[in-house]
Subunit: 416 residues, 2 copies
Amino acid sequence: MAMTKKPVKGMKDILPEEMAIRDYAINLIKETYKGFGFTPIETPTMEHIGNLSNKEGGENEKLIFKVLKRGEKLNLAAASNENDLVDSGLRYDLTVPLCRYYSNNSEILPAPFKALQIGSVYRADRPQRGRFRQFTQCDIDILGDPTNLAEIELILATTTLLGKLEFSNFKVHINDRRFLRAMTAYAGFPEERTDIVFIILDKMDKIGWEGVKEELLKEGFSEESVNRYVGLFEKMGTGKEAIAYLAETLGDKLDPAAVRNLNEIIDAVDSLKTADFELAFDATLVRGMGYYTGTIFEIEMLDFGSACGGGGRYDELIGKFTGMKVPACGFSIGFERIITLLLEKGFKVPGAPEKKAYLIEKGSDAEKIREVLTQAQKERAEGKTVSVSMRNKNAKFQKEQLAKDGYTEIIEVYKK
Amino acid sequence: MAMTKKPVKGMKDILPEEMAIRDYAINLIKETYKGFGFTPIETPTMEHIGNLSNKEGGENEKLIFKVLKRGEKLNLAAASNENDLVDSGLRYDLTVPLCRYYSNNSEILPAPFKALQIGSVYRADRPQRGRFRQFTQCDIDILGDPTNLAEIELILATTTLLGKLEFSNFKVHINDRRFLRAMTAYAGFPEERTDIVFIILDKMDKIGWEGVKEELLKEGFSEESVNRYVGLFEKMGTGKEAIAYLAETLGDKLDPAAVRNLNEIIDAVDSLKTADFELAFDATLVRGMGYYTGTIFEIEMLDFGSACGGGGRYDELIGKFTGMKVPACGFSIGFERIITLLLEKGFKVPGAPEKKAYLIEKGSDAEKIREVLTQAQKERAEGKTVSVSMRNKNAKFQKEQLAKDGYTEIIEVYKK
């Protein structure tokens, strides 16, 4: 039977040109993060369906690719719903597998444990331009450190990496969930409805402050609370001044530890950073995942108008999953977004070896071929990339393809 | 709900120690194969279920992890068998995805196309010690070259890699399906039953020649044919002498092109090889997959008594799948087996950077921490791996874990 040529819906074949940049980026990520003491780990693609459906994955849980049971365990006749049919699923992020990995292996892992994971994740999302159902995530996490040394190291490592990838003019937005909560308390929003306030605040970029006000009022919040809330943002100013303003204004609604936390991170990163970026307090930063407990951050590429990574502190999550209370903080870069930006920028992989191709005329005898291969082996030993192939009838197309593939020297070898 | 700690059945968490060797091996594989002109590509983990169930995958097709349909497409009430429930599956090898990739993209790929694929594959096999349901395969393939330049380059690239991984004293067994067929024809076995002869011959290592004879007789083959067949193996001798003996004895049953093919490959590899190994004709080499059409080969590690890779020419397979007739030849190394051997050998990753850890006493102020980080950033910029953490109460265990992880210098920093 003839094969279906296209990949399955929403997935893609990675072509040589993109592959070269991906390989380069992955090597640089590993080298840079290892330099900060992060340890690469790998977890299986599949997870127990129960681990994936734990209610901490939010919307992603609706997008799981589920794997059918096999053999005797699959009983189609007795199955009343799809949960009877499946026992595992493809991971939709690297955080669930990290929590499972840590609880499975914590006795033999260093404490604190600084993990680096690069791997494919899968979401049965509606396919869109530039968004795929299989994509690479790249996470660093520090498990077991309750202090903001973790945040500082995560931000330094990530921004050093982006600098090495020749990104500049970016901004790291930083906030603390404790600021978000203190501000809603100050405004007088009922505590059990803060989530909806955050969802609306998160849209500020798109709908502006007038839109935020309107949506909050539509939700039935009092005009007084809404004005008090939005007023805070209007009056606070920017940067460390804004932090000071909120510390004073919010009074005992705001934990002084949260104030100290952000000031220390900003001071440390400002004096230690190696890349060209600004770390700035952003009281509107929300980050979607409900599991964040403290610091949150997000990278904005100013030249491209897009976020390309983020993270934060999630001190409760591992405990919820595993019963072991472990403070944790992580930073994830948008690997696919970064590759797209590098391709758009026409990024050239630096230090790529010289590429040389030999094309041997068809019908050449074994001795002639061996002669060419002897020369090729010598050049390979010197570190060159050398490809030896038979010369096609249509050598013009063949040579064009080689040139496109970066071969700068093409040598045609004739029978005699 | 508490999480299940263990990975799903038959899969494993990869711990830091193994990860370091895997990363090193993967980098070396990419670097070495790229040096021979192979181009890395990547295909999705999932394939159309129809592509995986094409009858060329042999036993592997019974081991597919199948992925449940989603949304409206899943109609449990109307499903009469499991094929109604699934639309895709996890790939069980890299050959099916390669064929699909090539047919999907051939117009923009070089011809011949020299592909390198490293990726996870999945088989719902009975778990066994050292065998997992998710494992990495590493394949190189040359598509579009009908000459044995392909075989020569594949063998040189693979053995160069093994040499760089410090393997020596290995043997590459080589045969040609045309020799296998000519020998059964000479013995007088009916052509339609050659497959069962090959299955029995493949067991020679385990059951010896007496066992082979016995099983062939049990299958109802004539004593004359069986003796004539086994007699060939007894009389042929070894190496190129054996090829010459068979060429003479089998007469017009054997295509002279097959004889020339093996002699040319052996001569070329003998004069061009860079690693310590022997390439030897082995008339008992069968290789399981039915799709091989010509040359076949397999690597045997003599010090470990195990095969750790193999491949061959499969000129018909891409045509069967895609309708495009494309000659092809590939070599796959047993990545997991190689990692196991490296771990057993106590292999040390060469050229790993110096690792230094700072442990800061708890309660140190922000300025003290920044001081340590300033020094760490300086050392990182010099290429060192530097980890900065807070010092645990039980610093003895912490230091032991760091030492195990390769940290040779551990500096404890006190509050004052």
